[in-house]
């Protein structure tokens, strides 16, 4: 019953808002290029479905590739840092500088490095850059989050650095890594879209390009349709990763 209410409450609100939007557009005779009616957006969504789905796939593929890249590099670097405190002191300030620098500011440079003909490379690199920090930071925190008494136990039995890392610190970091990946996945998607905007080229054929293209032609309903697909894709990605996090934690805790 509660689950039904959880599902119905937002659905009713969305329908009510869409109804009010449709009515307002019709009554106030708002021009379609300024604000199309939800029905016009739905029509556009239906008509452009094949193109939008292909673009959504391209964006998602780039975001996931960026997530994999960020995951591998962030975890490898966090491991090195965990083994060497000097390395941590050296790397951490650089990682923070990288995190606080807006991706939009770095994008033109990355586009040049990736080559104008390879916008998808630039998009993946930029999205990976955005997704890197939550995983790196989660891994560093997690690798230091082992129970101090378990650390003492490892001291007592003379466990070396590598054994301690593999048998204690890495498993202790699992919940932090799962959370980091959940946050990073959302950021990778945002990063991919922002990077595609900045790249300003249709080469990657992602959803951001569809929005730019429709905007340039004042096809506002198509812009909304692309936005709806982007929003749905983001929500599905988040839900999928939240589920993955829950199952991961259940596996980690044994219940």
């Amino acid at each position: 019953m509660k689950r039904l209410a959880d599902l119905l409450a937002p659905l009713i609100l969305i329908i009510a808002l869409l109804g009010a939007w449709e009515a307002a557009c019709r009554v106030l005779e708002v021009p379609a290029y300024f604000l199309p009616t939800p029905s016009a957006v739905a029509t556009s969504l239906w008509a452009d479905a094949p193109t939008l789905l292909t673009s959504a796939y391209n964006t998602l593929a780039m975001a996931l590739a960026a997530l994999v890249l960020a995951s591998l590099s962030a975890q490898a670097l966090a491991l090195l840092v965990a083994l060497s405190p000097i390395l941590e002191r050296a790397i951490k300030p650089l990682a923070v500088v990288l995190q606080v620098t807006p991706v939009v500011a770095i994008a033109p440079l990355v586009v040049i490095w990736a080559g104008i003909d390879n916008p998808e490379r630039a998009i993946i690199a930029l999205a990976a850059l955005v997704a890197f920090f939550p995983i790196f930071s989660g891994a560093i925190t997690g690798l230091k989050a082992a129970d101090p008494d378990l650390e003492r136990l490892f001291d007592l039995y003379g466990a070396g650095r590598v054994k301690r890392l593999v048998r204690l610190r890495l498993p202790s970091a699992v919940p932090f890594l799962l959370e980091g990946h959940k946050v990073a996945a959302g950021l990778a998607l945002i990063g991919a879209v922002v990077a595609e905007f900045v790249a300003g080229s249709g080469g990657a054929q992602g959803l951001a390009w569809r929005i730019l293209e429709a905007g340039n032609r004042l096809q506002t309903a198509r812009m909304f349709a692309a936005l709806v697909v982007l929003g749905l894709m983001g929500a599905l990605l988040y839900a999928g990763l939240a589920r993955l996090e829950r199952s991961g934690l259940r596996w980690w805790r044994g219940r």
Partner: protein, 250 residues
């Protein structure tokens, strides 16, 4: 036989900024002896335990041990089990860290779990165990290496009275099998007198030994021991020394 398993000789511990926390303390542990450390909170009992285990170094004096690595085991206040490991793998961990093969470690872990009455819970994860069961797993993990020195840091503090008593009897029963030297920290004078052959009372910080009392009585203890006049008299004597120790200004 060695004269002592571990010894604190004029040991002092001083933390930067907060002055002397412990000492000077002299305390020698004989093989097979059960020693209880009682005292007010913050008097350095747990610090003394960590010194004996070699988990902390003194700032003054000397800690002498005749135990080798792996011959001391610690049971902490909380069960401190790795949530991602089964009870069996948690118990096998000290052996594996000491270089024993996984197969042999697991087999010995199952035997240790059997000794604490948890053979059927070998595959369970810590989250699936009750507080008492988790503490028994922790005890099995400490015993699996057959230590010569077993250090217990308020191991029953978080448990209800019935479970505490059952676990105290478990510890005494297990002690009778291999007779390691046991040192345990507790806030309960009755628990100290029931379990130990010697009760060492610490005074308020800087922690020093305010008094020592030997406990005479049958080993293993029958439940009726708690009702004997000797038990009551020792509890009274320890409580008196403890009260005096608490008056000591910081």
């Amino acid at each position: 036989m060695e004269p002592f398993v571990a010894e604190l000789a004029k040991v002092e511990v001083e933390y930067p900024g907060s002055g002397l926390a412990l000492g000077p303390v002299d305390l020698a542990l004989s093989p097979g002896e059960i020693t209880a450390l009682v005292g007010p909170s913050g008097c350095g009992k747990s610090t003394a335990l960590r010194l004996l285990a070699g988990l902390e170094a003194p700032t003054g004096g000397e800690v002498r041990r005749t135990t080798r690595r792996g011959e001391s085991a610690v049971v902490f206040q909380a069960p401190t089990l790795a949530p991602w490991l089964s009870a069996r793998d948690n118990v096998a961990l000290p052996l594996e860290l000491s270089g024993v093969s996984r197969r042999e470690a697991r087999s010995k872990a199952e035997q240790a779990l059997d000794r604490v009455g948890l053979a059927s819970a070998a595959g369970a994860r810590p989250a699936q165990l009750s507080g008492g069961m988790a503490m028994r797993v922790s005890l099995a993990r400490a015993l699996v290496t057959e230590p010569r020195l077993l250090l217990l840091d308020e191991p029953f503090a978080a448990l209800d009275e019935i479970t505490r008593r059952a676990l105290a009897d478990d510890v005494l029963r297990l002690w009778a099998e291999t007779r390691p030297a046991i040192v345990f920290v507790t806030h309960s004078v009755e628990e100290a007198v029931y379990m130990a052959s010697r009760v060492v009372v610490f005074s308020r910080g800087p922690g020093r030994i305010a008094g020592e009392m030997n406990v005479t009585g049958p080993t293993p203890r029958p439940e009726a021991f708690r009702t004997t006049a000797g038990f009551r008299a020792t509890v009274e004597a320890v409580s008196t020394v403890l009260a005096k120790g608490m008056e000591t200004p910081a």
